[in-house]
């Protein structure tokens, strides 16, 4: 319906209780005032209506007041754009170092599929992962490798005493390491090495003690080897009685030397054990790093894809939309805890599980067993009157549609009741269902997320 100039004059005359001629004069005066002020000041503001401005091309433009614009747009007030495809294409291009201008443009959303979006994102996420190598996985490359023969930390490389035995020990130790490299692990080789070194050292000490042992000049015999035994700590014990000659001094010197070398063996053993334990700690740390990195990546992937499944890229809305349970009868079927405490993570799991089930909660037709927050619905009515909205809902329920009704609170305090049919996992699913709707709903609807 169109109100013409004469209709406005009649309405104005009735409102001001004046004659039509007078009302026409007043209206003409008002129009003239607007034109004049716009030409002089560039704009004219009419309270309750909006602002008239002069455009660059000399034409008159009108900007309605926000309050009026909201009231005119009451059906869709507070609705914000839903981001259904993030800007990850650009990220891929930037990460791969190619020209951003060559990014793949999505031209048709009818072909959009969230699964393909997920795949693309997975590919995107694989890029940094492929470039990343676990740090410190090669134990030979590390300068602190306790099993490296050239490692300066090796306690056997320190000191200048017992050069012969030490050289022998190192030689045999290196041979032992080389021989066992292909078969044993480095740890086992190191342990074997330590044992061998201990044995060799102990033998060399015994030999030295033998060389240093006194010769009984009275008999001209060397003291019996049986008189020398090694205790558990590797110390040489002189159990046999020694000669009481003046030649006692070299014997005690030899004993002292043997004792000192045995103590040294003990020291080296403990030091080597320390180094081995340090090496084990170091290796465990090296192995823990990639595992920890993998865990962090897994957690990031989980949350990333969870948001992708639900399309949780909504722009914050200034309108408080509260989903009202479908009907009084259905209230009992919805567990309150589930309706209240459902967070996005649980929803993602539920969405993925329920699609596999035969009686899926998604679709256009069928009973609405539960309201799935985060899913999409096709809104067919946006009504101020609650009773009328419930009547419309009942009509759709009778026809077999999954029907949801909820209340929208607008910033200006007004409320609107929206009636939606169907529950869909994605926007594309909802779009595919629109042709199944009868007219006039087929051509007059909009898709919204249930929140």
């Amino acid at each position: 319906m169109k109100l013409l100039h004469d209709d406005i004059i009649s309405l104005l005359a009735n409102a001001l209780n004046i004659k039509k001629v007078k009302a026409e004069e007043l209206l003409a005066e008002w129009v003239l005032a607007i034109r004049k002020e716009v030409e002089q000041k560039g704009n004219y503001h009419a309270d309750g209506l909006g602002t008239f401005v002069l455009a660059d091309d000399g034409k008159l433009e009108f900007k309605p007041e926000e309050k009026l614009a909201i009231e005119v747009n009451y059906k869709y007030a507070g609705m914000n754009p839903i981001e259904i495809l993030p800007a990850y294409n650009r990220k891929i291009e930037q990460e791969s170092g190619t020209d951003v201008g060559k990014e793949v443009k999505v031209t048709s959303m009818s072909s959009f599929d969230q699964e393909s979006a997920g795949k693309l994102e997975r590919e995107d996420d694989q890029v940094p992962g492929d470039e990343t190598e676990p740090v410190g996985t090669d134990p030979e490359a590390g300068p602190d490798d306790p099993f490296d023969p050239d490692d300066s930390f090796d306690p056997f490389a320190e000191g200048e005493e017992d050069e012969i035995s030490q050289d022998t020990t190192e030689k045999e130790a290196s041979e032992a390491i080389e021989g066992s490299d292909d078969i044993k692990s480095e740890e086992e080789a190191a342990e074997d090495n330590v044992e061998k070194e201990e044995k060799i050292l102990a033998e060399s000490k015994i030999d030295k003690a033998t060389q240093a042992s006194p010769v009984d000049k009275t008999t001209g015999k060397v003291l019996s080897p049986a008189s020398r035994t090694l205790d558990k700590s590797g110390k040489v014990q002189m159990s046999a009685p020694v000669s009481k000659d003046k030649e006692k001094v070299p014997e005690t010197v030899g004993m002292a030397k043997a004792e000192s070398s045995a103590a040294e063996v003990t020291k080296r053993k403990s030091a080597k054990k320390k180094s081995v334990s340090r090496g084990k700690d170091f290796q465990s740390i090296i192995w823990m790093l990639p595992i920890a990195a993998a865990l962090i990546l897994a957690v990031m992937f989980f949350f990333h894809f969870e948001s992708q499944i639900l399309g949780h890229f909504r722009v914050p809305s200034t309108v408080d939309e509260t989903v009202v349970t479908p009907s009084l009868e259905e209230d009992a079927t919805i567990p309150e805890e589930e309706a209240v405490a459902q967070d996005d993570g649980v929803m993602a799991q539920e969405l993925s599980e329920t699609t596999e089930e035969e009686d899926s909660p998604f679709g256009l037709m069928g009973p609405e067993d539960e309201v799935l927050h985060g899913s999409f619905t096709i809104v067919l009515h946006s009504i101020v009157n609650e009773n009328r909205a419930r009547i419309e809902k009942a009509g759709f329920v009778e026809k077999g549609y999954k029907t949801t009704i909820w209340q929208v609170r607008h910033p200006n305090g007004s409320t609107t009741w929206r009636v939606g049919v169907g529950q869909f996992e994605s926007v594309s699913d909802a779009e595919q269902a629109i042709p199944e709707l009868p007219e006039p709903y087929r051509s007059n609807n909009f898709i919204i997320r249930i929140r």
Binding site: G48, V72, M79, P86
Partner: protein, 64 residues
């Protein structure tokens, strides 16, 4: 100069008609109407694809 009371009445007639989605023509000024925009997909410069909601907006066509 038109008084404020008269202006309020004029603007009230126009705004009430617009709320009812009626088109109004004011001689010498232009016509006011409500245009419906269907929900549509649009792509931002950064590659994001948005589902823009439908809307009813006021359209003004000035008289020359």
């Amino acid at each position: 100069m038109i008084d404020k009371n008269t202006e309020q009445e004029v603007t009230a007639v126009i705004s009430e008609s617009l709320k009812l989605h009626r088109e109004i023509y004011v001689k010498g000024l232009g016509s006011f109407s409500v245009q419906h925009h269907k929900q549509d997909h649009r792509q931002e410069n950064d590659g994001r694809v948005l589902l823009a909601p439908p809307s009813d907006t006021i359209f003004f066509d000035p008289d020359n």
